[in-house]
């Protein structure tokens, strides 16, 4: 067996998109169609957080690495009414980008001149992007901008989707075809958002981890959107499009889909490609989903809370050949929810958690931290969806009790010790297993953990092709420092040495006798 691949580094970004909640989130666009005069739509503007509040929000500071998940426990819930002292836009994993800069970024990554921005807005964001540490060189791509009258005409006469900032129209995304529904302005808007937010995360991955972007061989994009035209709706390929934006000149790539489970599928695929020696450096990347903005907004407004689903999420992770330091990806300890697994909680946790543990002769308590569905409970609890990570931890613990690996009375402490509070935005694939990879790299190198498990689950049934859902998992471990692992091939020289040692041992026994 070849040496295990390692998680070399990661980048995590959030983008505050307050105007996109109203214009592009499906909860709101559905409401506009079905109930245009609704109280919810009237009240919504009063429940939008300003950018500073989004930066100061505890879970967001964890996402970009300025706080750890454990730090979050020190703050009593709800978290939205507490500002984090010393919070900052930039963190060790990435940043929280404001909307105006992100709209500029959508223009910068647009390869087909579909994004049109107002002249005045362009001048304003040019200044801001000149000061961004990662996008100075891309400022000329913003060009000079258009007359607002032309942008209004594109929207009114050619079905373009408006881009809004602070309630004002500042640009649009044009359709790329007159009748192709897969190239209409709505689809292109979502796809350009994925491309831009994915590229932002990728840029931070490179920047924060001292990576030479030319060394990246392959990119796996694992978000939930589809790009293609009327002849191939999900033809692809976001991966190569993002690789081009970030200057990964020696990379190609492909898109992996599996609803929210896709990032963990992609992690396993990347580990396998590197371990097999096909590529040395494989990057996973995913951008965010405008459709999910304000998904639980009705409940948040009803409870007098701010709309907390006001950010897009993005992440990028580099998987590389074993460097003897970074945590290894145990491709021999992979869990799979298969077609035949069944859907009872016990069957699900067995397939994802205990089956891989049994393969390695491990107990449930041998995994120091489980990274499951890491949705922020501040968002989900008021909406009636409960504390999702906690529910997952309780199910793992219950199975531990059933297997006699844990005392019933230790259920509560297990959840705290082997679990984490959720901090990721409800952006589907973004909270699923992978938000912890950045912290896992630290916990398994400079920290004091030895073994963690990444679990991703996906709701395949939403696509109406099957009633099944899905899940995969993989164990990550502290690197022993040896590049080769047990079962690795040994040289002829080593075999000779081992035989000689055995002969000497045998001879000494004879002499003693």
């Amino acid at each position: 067996m070849m040496s295990y691949a390692v998680v070399k580094g990661s980048g995590y970004v959030l983008v505050h998109t307050p105007d996109m909640i109203y214009h592009n989130g499906t909860t709101q666009t559905t409401e506009k169609l079905t109930n245009p005069d609704s109280e919810y739509l009237k009240k919504l503007p009063e429940h939008i957080r300003p950018y500073e509040k989004v930066v100061n929000y505890g879970p967001n500071q964890v996402y970009i690495g300025n706080l750890t998940p454990e730090d979050l426990r020190k703050y009593e819930m709800p978290w939205y009414d507490k500002d984090i002292p010393g919070a900052s836009r930039f963190g060790k994993f990435g940043e929280i980008m404001p909307q105006d800069e992100f709209i500029a970024l959508m223009k910068m990554v647009d390869a087909f001149d579909l994004v049109k921005l107002d002249k005045g807005f362009t001048a304003m964001v040019k200044e801001k992007m000149m000061n961004h540490p990662l996008f100075k060189d891309d400022v000329p791509k913003l060009k000079e901008g258009e007359d607002l009258a032309d942008i209004e005409k594109y929207i009114q006469e050619q079905h373009a989707e408006g881009l809004y900032h602070e309630g004002k129209l500042v640009g649009c995304v044009k359709r790329a075809h007159d009748i192709d529904p897969n190239l209409n302005a709505h689809v292109l808007f979502e796809n350009l958002v994925v491309k831009a937010s994915g590229a932002l995360a990728f840029k931070h991955l490179i920047d924060k981890n001292n990576i030479n972007v030319a060394d990246i061989d392959y990119v796996i994009e694992c978000s939930e959107e589809a790009c293609g035209d009327m002849n191939q709706r999900g033809g692809g390929n976001f991966a190569k499009a993002i690789a081009e934006v970030v200057g990964a000149m020696n990379a190609t790539g492909s898109d992996t889909r599996g609803f929210c489970a896709a990032p963990t599928h992609a992690l396993i695929e990347a580990a396998a490609l590197v371990q097999a020696g096909v590529y040395e450096n494989v990057a996973l990347v995913a951008g965010g989903a405008t459709a999910k903005l304000g998904m639980n907004g009705k409940d948040h407004v009803k409870k007098g809370m701010p709309i907390l689903e006001d950010v897009l999420g993005g992440f990028a992770v580099l998987v590389s050949k074993n460097d003897g330091v970074s945590p290894i990806l145990r491709t021999d300890l992979v869990g799979r929810h298969t077609v035949g697994t069944g859907s009872s909680p016990q069957a699900v946790i067995t397939s994802l958690v205990t089956t891989p543990l049994d393969k390695g002769g491990l107990k449930i308590t041998d995994i120091d931290k489980y990274s499951v569905e890491m949705q922020n409970p501040d968002v989900t609890k008021p909406a009636g969806a409960g504390d999702v990570p906690e529910a997952n931890y309780k199910m793992i613990a219950a199975l531990g009790v059933k297997r006699n690996e844990l005392d019933r009375q230790d259920l509560g402490t297990f959840v705290e010790k082997h679990g984490m509070p959720g901090w990721a935005p409800t952006q589907g694939h973004i909270p699923s297993g992978v938000p912890y990879l950045g912290f896992a790299k630290e916990d398994l190198t400079t920290g004091n953990l030895n073994r963690v498990m990444i679990v991703g689950k996906g709701s395949l049934f939403l696509g109406r092709m099957t009633n099944l859902f899905d899940g995969v998992s993989i164990v990550m471990e502290r690197n022993t420092g040896k590049a080769e692992t047990a079962g690795a091939s040994i040289s002829e020289e080593e075999v000779k040495h081992m035989i000689a040692e055995a002969m000497r041992d045998f001879a000494s026994h004879l002499l003693k006798a």
Partner: protein, 43 residues
Amino acid sequence: MSMFDGKKVIIIGDRDGIPGPAMEECLKGTGAEVVFSATECFV
């Protein structure tokens, strides 16, 4: 005679809780008729 005899049941399951098919399985062997079963994703 069970409490489900002659009852029509609507099941809405939760992917991270108890999914629809698992509840359907539990109702097999009772007198219940499952008229609708779905699993939803609340996140």
